[in-house]
């Protein structure tokens, strides 16, 4: 076909039509992506849904598609509601979220405010400020793992004895993880909030100052209200990210001591790779996906309404 069409001036055949029809061409361009998405999103989702209603585990040697032989109805879903370890992990995840995210927000806001005025060395400080965010979370985990050792620099600087433990203490392990998360993700907050703050028209700020408003009054009455959308986006983004926290925790404490720092992600990881409860993991995973989707959809529609 291609040989023929190369010689004749008016091309015929299916591909010639495609070349002229924007919709058809679009279909062929999009097709590979759609196929890819089917394989990496839709297929695993249904596979997960299928497994979540069985007792299947990889230990017994039956292939996953034969899982219907051990059909369990909604037992997994029921069990997760009464599983204290699941609730504990959920609570700890939320705890990290409600401490770390506001802390990152206030620090980020304060830093952004410092950076709206030009000062010598601003660009250098700006780059330094952003480094934590660019380090691989696993590496940050390792850094803080080393920092918080009994004989590590933290104890050394604070003048604490080497048996004053951070990562293996029931209370301080969680604090250590939260500190590490704040250290790593405040820069992202700073970056988003600075962008938002620079978007506040400078002449309006100037007008507010000329009207006699103090810096604090202008900050609360002009800057913050104008940044509302950006603030919301920054908070949602960090909250969602924080919910998925894994690398830091896994490297610093492995969820320990005991389950003291076990977050949802770490909990699921252990269930999957240590306890091989794949069907149960599938059920929990789907539940979280469902709950988060509902929250995200609600939040988005709220934001869209606000913008109108």
């Amino acid at each position: 076909m291609s040989d023929k069409s190369a010689n004749t001036p008016t091309k015929t055949g299916y591909w010639a039509k495609v070349a002229q029809d924007g919709n058809k061409m679009g279909f062929w361009f999009v097709l590979p992506t759609v196929l890819l998405l089917v394989f990496i999103v839709v297929f695993p989702l249904f596979m997960q849904l299928y497994l979540s209603v069985t007792w299947w585990t990889p230990l017994e040697g039956t292939p996953w598609y034969m899982a219907w032989e051990v059909f369990s109805w909604g037992e997994n879903y029921w069990y997760q509601l009464t599983d204290p370890r699941m609730w504990g992990a959920l609570w700890r995840t939320v705890l990290i979220m409600i401490i770390a995210v506001p802390a990152q927000f206030f620090l980020g806001m304060a830093l952004a405010y410092l950076f709206i005025e030009k000062f010598p060395g601003r660009k250098i400080f700006y780059s330094i400020m952003l480094t934590p965010m660019m380090i691989v979370p696993a590496v940050v985990g390792l850094m803080f793992y080393l920092l918080f050792q009994g004989t590590g620099p933290v104890n050394d600087h604070l003048g604490l004895p080497s048996n004053f433990s951070w990562l293996t203490d029931v209370n301080r392990a969680m604090i250590s993880v939260i500190i590490a998360d704040i250290w790593q993700w405040t820069p992202l907050m700073f970056l988003i909030l600075l962008a938002g703050m620079l978007g506040v028209p400078s002449d309006q700020l100037l007008a507010a100052r000329l009207l006699g408003g103090s810096n604090w009054q202008n900050f609360i009455k002009i800057i913050v209200p104008r940044m509302k959308t950006v603030i919301l986006i920054a908070l949602v983004l960090r909250a969602v990210e924080c919910f998925k926290i894994f690398d830091l925790v896994y490297i610093m404490t492995k969820g320990g001591p005991g389950v003291q720092t076990e977050t949802i992600s770490v909990f699921l990881y252990k269930l999957t790779f240590a306890e091989l409860e794949w069907a149960y993991v599938a059920a929990i995973g789907l539940t979280i996906l469902f709950v988060l989707s509902v929250i995200a959809a609600k939040g988005l529609s709220y934001m869209v309404k606000k913008d109108k």
């Binding site: 309006q204 100037l206 009207l211 006699g212 103090s214």
Partner: protein
């Protein structure tokens, strides 16, 4: 209400000198316009008065009090921005009340003053609406009202009329003059529009390339410009400025223009050109409305012969473009008798002509009045 003293103020941005050794005294209750072409340093001057920009050199005083240590917030300056800088996320009411709220004025007092100001600006019906919904004209009123409500010591207006449509601009010009009388406040008005400056201001400061060219009443500046720049800048249509070499031939001082035309200097303008013996090239200035046709009215008036190249109607009058060899004069054809192509004699009245030194631009013979 305050007087403002600007003393030897210089402002540099790197190598660029925006304002160069500027000295200006603005009296209490005066309406002063800073007039000049774009980029002449007038807005920079205004920003320095407001405290937005630091001074490189010199000092600015309010009522003879040094201001350099005073924060923007404490200067109590009413500033109307070119784009108004309305708080678009707040209501009209909140915009007006902002300056009072931050000073923790009593609530009832705020309400009373906001209502009065909204009434004065005739935006009462808009009070509860978001400020972003206002038209440009209403924003302009709101911007002025928002600054006026705090009763500032001085009022600074940065080209406040440039964004308005023509009809409203004329209305607002009159309104501003009324407001200034009502408030009795010292006002400084930045503009590049000479009509605004001429019609509004008590005094005009003409600035070019950061230097003060002349400071005086509108009429003063129009009638006796200190230098060639002011002569050229003020007036519409512009003053005829003929540049040439001064030459003495057979007891007759002449201005030889490149292209061959020559002006035989006589009377007052001749003695002005002659007053400084060192000047070799000069600029001869005459306003279009001072040139006349017909019979010579005075012996000292200078006679010229020219060809009418173009006739242009400007309102009820016609402008005639007269060519004398390669030199062009613009004159008003007040008798409506000229035709294109006519070769006509015309007269340059000596008393109304001005002499400038071409090199320095300065007025020769001292300013007459």
């Amino acid at each position: 209400m305050s007087s403002i003293q600007i003393r030897n103020v210089t402002k540099r941005f790197g190598d660029f000198t925006a304002v160069d050794n500027l000295t200006l005294d603005i009296e209490e209750g005066e309406f002063a316009a800073l007039l000049g072409p774009s980029g002449c340093g007038k807005t920079t001057t205004m920003n320095m008065i407001a405290g937005i920009e630091d001074l490189t050199k010199g000092s600015i005083l309010f009522d003879e009090q040094e201001l350099s240590g005073t924060r923007i917030q404490d200067r109590n300056i009413g500033f109307v921005f070119q784009n108004y800088a309305i708080f678009t996320h707040l209501s009209v009411y909140k915009n007006l009340s902002y300056g009072l709220e931050v000073k923790k004025v009593d609530k009832g007092e705020i309400e009373r003053r906001v209502k009065a100001m909204a009434d004065r600006m005739s935006i009462t019906h808009r009070l509860d609406q978001p400020a972003a919904s206002l038209s440009v004209n209403e924003m302009q009123k709101l911007a002025i009202g928002r600054s006026a409500i705090v009763e500032p010591r001085i009022f600074l207006l940065d080209e406040p009329l440039s964004n308005l449509d023509a009809g409203f601009r004329a209305y607002m010009r009159a309104e501003l003059k009324v407001l200034q009388h009502e408030f009795g406040q010292t006002m400084i008005y930045v503009t590049h529009d000479q009509i605004e400056a001429m019609s509004l201001a008590d005094k005009i400061a003409i600035i070019d390339q950061g230097k003060l060219m002349q400071y005086g009443t509108p009429l003063d500046i129009y009638n006796s410009p200190d230098n060639r720049f002011v002569a050229n800048f003020i007036g519409s249509p512009r003053m005829n400025l003929i540049d040439g070499e001064l030459r003495e031939e057979k007891d007759q001082l002449k201005l030889m223009v490149s292209g061959g035309a020559e002006i035989k200097l006589q009377g007052q303008v001749k003695s002005e050109f002659a007053s400084d013996g060192k000047v070799q090239s000069g600029s001869f200035g005459i306003r279009p409305q001072d040139i006349y046709f017909g019979d010579q009215r005075s012996d000292s008036d200078i006679k010229m012969h020219g060809t009418v190249e173009v006739l242009e109607r400007v309102g009820p009058k016609r402008l005639a473009y007269l060519h004398v060899l390669e030199t062009m004069f613009i004159a008003f054809d007040d008798q409506d008798r000229l035709k294109v192509g006519d070769k006509v004699p015309f007269y340059l009245p000596s008393e109304k002509s001005m002499a400038f030194d071409l090199a320095s631009g300065r007025r020769l013979g001292g300013v007459a009045k």
